[in-house]
Symmetry: C2
Subunit: 252 residues, 2 copies
DNA sequence: AAGTGTGAATTGATTCACAGCC
DNA sequence: GGCTGTGAATCAATTCACACTT
């Protein structure tokens, strides 16, 4: 979710819905798979299956880019790969700075998926002097003090924040001040940014919690199937409740 | 996004919208922050600001859980923490298995955010015999062969897939067959699961690509501001395309 | 006076279903 | 005959605005 937005309509028939944008990388990846296997043409049905969406959605999504298919035939794989890649800005090479070289930063620096898809790690930066100079995936970790210099020299506009929560906002402020306008945030805090800067967050703990929410319902509903039902098990260790309990339902 | 869904309405006023569920962890975290700082009561405005959403949305979200606030006053922090935690299933301890102990699996195993929030890493599993026995965050990596045993013994229902793309579906099938019903997938492939199993995916490369998409528009629109404008870069009606980036499907 | 809770309005995303083209 | 592209219909999420409570 972009915390801050870019530009609203951006005019000329080119207003691609955010939900569609979020799926383009998926389509691109699936298309590359077909291309690697030498497939020349795919139908919306086939491509949709590979990407894990339904075909109506896929067709609607692609229709926002233009009419790149052939009725009765399908899509030319190479042509569509190119169009999607162009739309995503993958035809150019984006230098990315990763700030925070802890466990996660390490993993990201070593992650092949980034570098193989139009992104190049321009620098790794960490505040811990003990870490500067350390080689990670062939790149030396640099001091946080050099952040602005690095961004300027490498003309970086996309950064990854993989610092602890406590440092994230300050790092973010410096990134933005230095000219970064897109941030991928792994720190579990909502970053405040001025308008014109995009932030996307990856919140690992939240993802598990969302799964746990559904898991709980599944387990409750399978228990509810037993005759012995819905016992409200007295909650031990209540936090001190204020006055509550009144189901203040009703009204309208 | 749940690839497969659980149960639709689940009856009695308890059908919490998916978008709301996805924000509950955020609220929970923000509330914990207030609690830690000794704040007793928060308004929707304050809590919303801390969570990075607007207050109308927050109030609507909370209204799906029940009427836990006090008009004219706000929300009791401890009470609301408890209610949100209960809704999320955080009052219990969820054993989690991580499959794939590469860079990412390592990072996840060491990531404090999981263990500190109701999740316990029950086991680390990897297919590489060279890695079994290795200690990661105090836990010995186990052989993939033991997967079913582990899941059964520890009564695991939530698993994390951090394998290369090529292994993900097979691992997923085994997880599901062994009784896992919630999967957090880091591999860049859409997992096929039977209905009743939830999958959420974290797609690192896609996140960067989505940022790049918006970044490209920003850069184009700032160029468009120059007198020399909107050069329509001759769109040939035919597949005149460079085959793009060679490699694909990198691993984690 | 302050601030929640919620109907109503709006905006956005998905799905349907079929006309049009190959 | 097969399959895309897209209006229309549906469904979901967000925002508005205010009645109601303390």
């Amino acid at each position: 979710m972009s915390t801050s937005r870019v530009d609203r309509p951006l005019g000329r028939g080119r207003g691609i819905p955010e939900a569609t944008v979020a799926r383009l990388p998926l389509y691109h990846r699936s298309l590359m798979g077909f291309a690697d296997r030498g497939v020349a043409t795919v139908s919306s049905e086939e491509l949709a299956a590979a990407a894990g969406v339904n075909s109506a959605k896929l067709r609607k999504d692609l229709s926002h880019l233009g009419s790149y298919g052939t009725r009765g035939v399908g899509y030319d794989v190479d042509y569509l790969v190119y169009q999607v890649a162009r739309e995503l800005g993958l035809t150019q090479d984006w230098p990315v700075v990763i700030v925070g070289v802890g466990n996660l930063g390490h993993a990201l620096a070593n992650y092949g998926g980034f570098t193989s898809r139009g992104f190049r790690i321009a620098a790794l930066v960490d505040s811990d002097p003990a870490r500067t100079g350390e080689l990670v995936n062939g790149l030396a970790v640099q001091s946080l003090g050099r952040l602005e210099e690095i961004i300027d020299e490498a003309d970086v506009s996309i950064a990854v924040v993989a610092t602890p929560a406590s440092a994230a906002q300050e790092v973010c402020d410096r990134l933005v001040a230095a000219g970064v306008t897109s941030i991928l945030n792994f720190a579990p805090v909502p970053l405040q940014v001025p308008s014109g800067v995009d932030v996307r967050k990856v919140d690992l703990a939240s993802e598990l919690q969302i799964l746990a929410f559904h898991e709980l319902r599944k387990q409750m509903s399978s228990l509810a199937a037993l005759p012995q039902l819905a016992a409200h098990p007295a909650r031990p260790g209540h936090p001190a409740h204020p006055a509550l309990a009144p189901r203040s339902e009703a009204t309208g």
